[in-house]
């Protein structure tokens, strides 16, 4: 059922005018990829900074909530750019991506990373300092770092792994 829907979605993206547009242009894919990479860098930097604070490694003199609020706009904007540019890159070769195991792992980790960031991690990074004692906030940081790192590693692997079919 889900695989049917995903297959239909990949088909639709692959045959859409933007999918074909990116595919048939010599410079669109590389240019979108640069935006993808730049935004990804900003996203990675902000995620690392907030988690480094939760782990007590950086900005220890500042409340977590304030630092998180400061970098939040950068996080949201860069996540938006990453998702939109990523979708266009995907649409140009979505049927190929459907059969790419690294891409599947990347999407699964991405969904988990986003869900975690906007639920538990967000609650932790908004807590008052007095509630941040103990190991849980540090675990939230570790889980967030592991999830985002796996998105990055699986993304890197897309170009190297063989197709499933």
């Amino acid at each position: 059922m889900i695989s049917h829907f995903l297959m239909w979605f990949c088909n639709w993206a692959d045959f859409s005018f933007f999918g074909a547009g990116v595919r048939n242009s010599a410079w669109l894919f590389p240019s979108i990829e640069i935006f993808h990479l730049l935004a990804l860098g900003i996203l990675g930097g902000t995620v690392l900074l907030v988690n480094a604070r939760l782990l007590g490694l950086r900005f220890t003199g500042e409340p977590v909530a304030e630092l998180a609020k400061d970098v939040q706009p950068w996080m949201y904007i860069s996540l938006g750019v990453v998702l939109v540019s990523g979708f266009f890159l995907f649409s140009s070769e979505s049927l190929k991506m459907y059969d790419n195991p690294a891409f599947r792992i990347k999407m699964a980790s991405l969904v988990l990373a986003i869900l975690f960031s906007f639920t538990l991690h967000r609650r932790v990074s908004r807590l008052d300092e007095s509630h941040l004692a103990g190991a849980w906030p540090k675990w939230a940081a570790v889980i967030s770092l592991v999830l985002w790192t796996s998105v990055g590693l699986a993304g890197r692997a897309i170009g190297y792994v063989p197709q499933l079919h």
Binding site: G44, F59, D70, W74, L153
Partner: protein, 166 residues
């Protein structure tokens, strides 16, 4: 000895051959290069946007710099070492690629920008630590830094299109 003959010699060293022929070295080194680069760029954007007065306005610039700098330096070192390894696997082809030369020149310019900042407006940071808006020279330095790094990343990506990984 010209650079080309130096790189031809480097190309034939056993270390370069090992880098080139190993299945795992290139993907691993490239992944380290890209991951450290993204984190470096993220931190650089935060620092530059503080210099521009966009983020963390209430925080002292010297404090933001002190907190971000050690990781920026660490990221730069990892990036440079992994970059040199990538280069050493195929020095002649890299040297013949225009984007590679452009990238190296841009990295030198980005470094000069930091040196100029430290020698001029950056050395008087205490006097404008919390100033709003920040001095024009600091803003100019931040904008230059952003432009250089965006161009460096774009040139780096372009190298991968001219010289696809093996």
């Amino acid at each position: 000895m010209s650079l080309t003959s130096l790189f031809v010699w480097l190309h034939d060293t056993s270390f370069s051959i090992w880098l080139r022929d190993s299945t795992w070295t290139e993907p691993i080194v490239e992944t380290i290069h890209v991951l450290s680069l993204t984190l470096f760029f993220g931190f650089a954007v935060l620092l530059d946007s503080r210099l521009l007065g966009i983020t963390m306005k209430r925080r002292r610039i010297s404090e933001v710099l002190a907190q971000l700098n050690p990781w920026l330096i660490a990221g730069f070192i990892v990036m440079t070492v992994s970059g040199i390894l990538l280069f050493m696997g195929d020095p002649v082809s890299f040297y013949q690629t225009t984007f590679f030369k452009v990238k190296i020149i841009l990295i030198v310019l980005a470094g000069l920008n930091v040196l100029v900042f430290n020698a001029t407006i950056g050395s008087r940071m205490e006097s404008w630590d919390l100033a709003t808006p920040t001095p024009g020279k600091a803003k100019a330095s931040a904008i230059l830094s952003l432009c250089f790094w965006i161009a460096i990343i774009a040139a780096g990506r372009a190298i991968a299109y001219v010289l696809p990984p093996p």
